[in-house]
């Protein structure tokens, strides 16, 4: 145990400097966290579009899917290049799929499920919304790049969960 005691002087000095650094460290940490928080709040306010918002609640989980919008409309044009998509997740597919739109399309998705939880994730975008039976969630997004986007179910929903893939095809806006 000789190495254990290099003298009380060393211990004392170390403790003094530790206490000094402790204060500086805590100050830095608090400042950093405040900045980070302010930053995220700023984003939160400015980037409303991808924020998911609750919509209607239903007692019967299959009720939303029986509404007309979910049944026939499905992809409804609401403006020059704006659409509402009524998306239903059920075991184990997304409908409607595939969806064809033009580059630059602004789509508002109304998402629900008729059975268990599903996860509405569009790969390569910030769209990420849980499809909950009995609740219709909303999310909007601007598809400004052409290409094929995959809708991937990211909430476990049974044995074919990994194969629950949908497609959104965004055609390039070549002709005006």
């Amino acid at each position: 145990m000789n190495t254990q005691s290099p003298g009380p002087d060393f211990e004392h000095a170390f403790h003094r400097s530790a206490e000094r650094h402790e204060r500086v460290w805590i100050f830095c940490v608090v400042t950093m966290l405040l900045l980070l928080t302010a930053g995220t709040m700023f984003y939160a306010v400015y980037d409303y579009g991808v924020v998911t918002k609750g919509a209607a609640f239903h007692a019967d989980p299959t009720a939303p899917a029986r509404e007309t919008a979910f049944q026939d409309g499905r992809v409804i044009q609401t403006g020059p290049n704006a659409y509402s998509v009524y998306m239903v997740g059920h075991l184990w597919m997304w409908s409607p799929s595939p969806i064809h739109v033009k580059q630059g399309a602004a789509i508002t998705f109304y998402v629900t499920s008729t059975d268990v939880l599903h996860g509405f994730e569009v790969q390569g975008t910030t769209i990420n919304l849980t499809a909950v039976p009995g609740i219709v969630g909303t999310v909007s997004y601007n598809f400004s790049h052409p290409g094929t986007y995959h809708i991937i179910c990211n909430e476990f929903c049974g044995i074919e969960h990994q194969a629950m893939i949908g497609r959104i095809i965004v055609d390039p806006a070549t002709r005006s």
């Binding site: 190495t3 254990q4 290099p6 060393f10 211990e11 004392h12 403790h15 530790a18 650094h21 402790e22 460290w25 805590i26 940490v29 608090v30 966290l33 928080t37 995220t40 709040m41 984003y43 939160a44 306010v45 991808v50 924020v51 998911t52 918002k53 609750g54 919509a55 609640f57 239903h58 007692a59 998402v111 059975d115 268990v116 939880l117 996860g119 994730e121 790969q123 390569g124 910030t126 990420n128 919304l129 849980t130 909950v132 039976p133 009995g134 609740i135 219709v136 969630g137 909303t138 991937i152 990211n154 909430e155 476990f156 929903c157 049974g158 044995i159 969960h161 990994q162 194969a163 893939i165």
Partner: protein, 562 residues
């Protein structure tokens, strides 16, 4: 105590042998058809992995450790009847869970979100396991009361204090899951009700599911603050800071559980904003820990003759597997903390939510910090309890280094692939190869890393169990029993030192309290008030969230679809 260790590590052994199969799955290798007699699907395996590692393993070790260490520190006998009944409850629960998971009746994953419907045996087993895990709380309260009665006006010794705060946190936190089980799922699975409300279940689950992260972490911190500095040959730099860390973790962890539901419908933006702020504050105690533990280790290293900027780090007793395991665990935690902040912020969360970024994150927290710390603890505790010495110090070292290396590779791959949108919990290797390629081809390199990391982890697991069971069964018996390495705090007036003489098994450990008490530590003695305050804040955070859900009940029937 040995029973808790053995039960916990046995669960981990089963769970951890399935983990690498999951890693291979992400690398595109589907091992499940070959395993069909045992595991019907990836999802059955994943349920077993999550439940055994996440709940059974951690609950057993923690319920043992957080009673045993305080009892030794205080020199008191714990209420053995209670402690044993806790063990029996958890063991019965664990057996029921195993039964219902292995017959593939309950492949609902460890989050068991309704309306996926598992068997009643599964939910009842989960109920018993959860209730059993709260039993240390009354034991600790009783021991602390006895101790306080004998030594009026003194502060609760550090290890007991940290254990108690952890259990108080868990006592409050578990209300969510226990309520979900008792009020919703048990009656539903037994057939008393025919439907459940999915979003209420999910919200109650996360009331527990977020703080459980701290229930995994805090026992590891108990060892880091309470023991590690002594094991490394130094002293704990600041005792009040350790207390403050625990209280902050307690206060901040509870109200923010619903940040796991940022992407659920039905959450108002204002709540999201508040939750982001609170979630960020959880980083504060972790950063204090990084500082205090780092400094304590630096002191140890310098005392051992380390010089210069990094010399102290090299001078740590790396040949001691009990120290090496914990220091490596602390290093992985730095990554864990950084990626945690990413998830906390709302915008980034939209990108990584439910991708394999998330399991990447919790394998560098619970999967390394907790698992490695518990492994490291077992390296001194098994000899301490059985009087047998480790059968191989080398192999023990190899297991923690391999674990560290494997986890780093694995987690790097998981985080990186998550940014490509690779979903978690997906049997992607069962997809037709062309489909796998179009969807996840661009994440080829990170997914390969995941698989490689998994294989390294398999090796690590193997080494560990040879040492663990080898020592229990065949380790050479000696007369000398390794003592518990309770740390000493240092400093003058500010610190409350728990300067203990190193005693052997037979003499109860006495406490020498420092006469000059720190005002901070003294304030933090009021754990009752702190608990009450946290409970009020948590209720305030949850009532507005649950309110619209309760007013718009959904009656969803159950689904068995695996």
């Amino acid at each position: 105590m040995l029973a808790f260790l053995i039960a916990g590590f046995t669960a981990l052994m089963i769970g951890a042998s399935i983990g690498p199969l999951q890693a291979l799955n992400y690398g595109g290798i589907n091992a499940y058809p070959a395993l069909h007699p045992v595991l019907k699907s990836y999802y059955q395996g994943l349920t077993i992995h999550g439940v055994l590692n996440g709940y059974v393993f951690t609950f057993f070790i923690t319920s043992g450790l957080l009673v045993y260490l305080p009892a030794r520190e205080l020199g008191l006998h714990p209420n053995l009847l209670l402690w044993r009944s806790g063990f029996v409850l958890m063991a019965a629960g664990a057996l029921m869970l195993l039964w219902s998971m292995f017959d593939n009746s309950s492949s609902v994953l460890w989050t068991f979100y309704p309306p996926l419907q598992a068997s009643a045996v599964f939910y009842l087993g989960m109920t018993l396991l959860s209730i059993g895990s709260i039993v240390p709380l009354p034991i600790l309260l009783e021991m602390r009361a006895t101790w306080k009665h004998r030594r009026r006006g003194e502060l609760t010794p550090l290890v007991t204090y940290m254990s108690l705060v952890t259990m108080l946190m868990w006592g409050l936190a578990s209300i969510g899951a226990v309520a979900e089980l008792l009020l919703q799922l048990d009656p539903w699975a037994l057939g008393f009700t025919s439907t459940v409300d999915p979003i209420i279940g999910r919200t109650l689950f996360w009331l527990t599911g977020h703080p459980i992260v701290y229930f995994w972490l805090m026992p590891a911190y108990v060892s880091w603050y309470g023991l590690l500095s002594r094991q490394a040959g130094g002293k704990l730099v600041s005792d009040p800071m350790a207390r403050l860390t625990f209280v902050l973790l307690f206060v901040f962890s509870l109200p923010v559980g619903s940040h796991h539901q940022f992407d659920d419908p039905g959450f108002s933006p204002i709540w999201r904003g508040i939750l982001v702020a609170l979630t960020m504050s959880v980083a504060l105690p972790s950063l204090i820990t990084a500082f205090t533990i780092g400094l304590s280790l630096e002191f140890a290293g310098r005392v051992r003759g380390g010089k210069g900027w990094f010399g102290w780090f090299r001078a740590l007793p790396w040949s001691n597997p009990g120290v090496a395991g914990q220091v490596l665990a602390a290093i992985t935690f730095i990554f864990g903390g950084a990626t945690g902040v990413v998830q906390g912020s709302w915008q980034l969360d939209n990108i990584v939510h439910n991708t394999i970024f998330i399991p990447g994150h919790f394998h560098v927290t619970v999967g390394s910090v907790t698992a490695m710390t518990f492994m490291a603890v077992s390296f001194w505790m098994v000899p301490h309890l059985t009087g047998r010495s480790l059968i191989s110090r080398r192999l023990a070292l190899a297991s923690v280094w391999l674990w560290f290396a494997g986890m780093s590779i694995f987690a790097l791959g998981m985080h990186w692939a998550g940014l490509f949108g690779v979903p978690r919990r997906a049997w992607i290797s069962a997809l037709p190869p062309s489909e796998y390629h179009t969807l996840y081809g661009m994440a080829h390199v990170p997914l390969a890393l995941v698989a490689i990391g998994g294989v390294v982890l398999w090796l690590a697991t193997f080494c560990f169990y040879v040492v663990f069971f080898g020592t229990i069964l065949f380790g050479s018996r000696g007369t000398y029993r390794e003592p518990i390495p309770f740390a000493r705090a240092f400093g003058g007036r500010e610190s409350y030192a728990i300067d203990l003489p190193l005693t052997d098994e037979t003499t109860p450990v006495g406490i020498v309290a420092h006469p000059a008490l720190s005002p901070l530590a003294r304030t933090l003695e009021h754990v009752g008030l702190i608990t009450l305050g946290t409970a009020v804040v948590t209720a305030a955070a949850y009532i507005p969230i649950l309110w619209p859900f309760v007013h718009h009940l959904t009656h969803a029937p159950g689904w068995i679809v695996w």
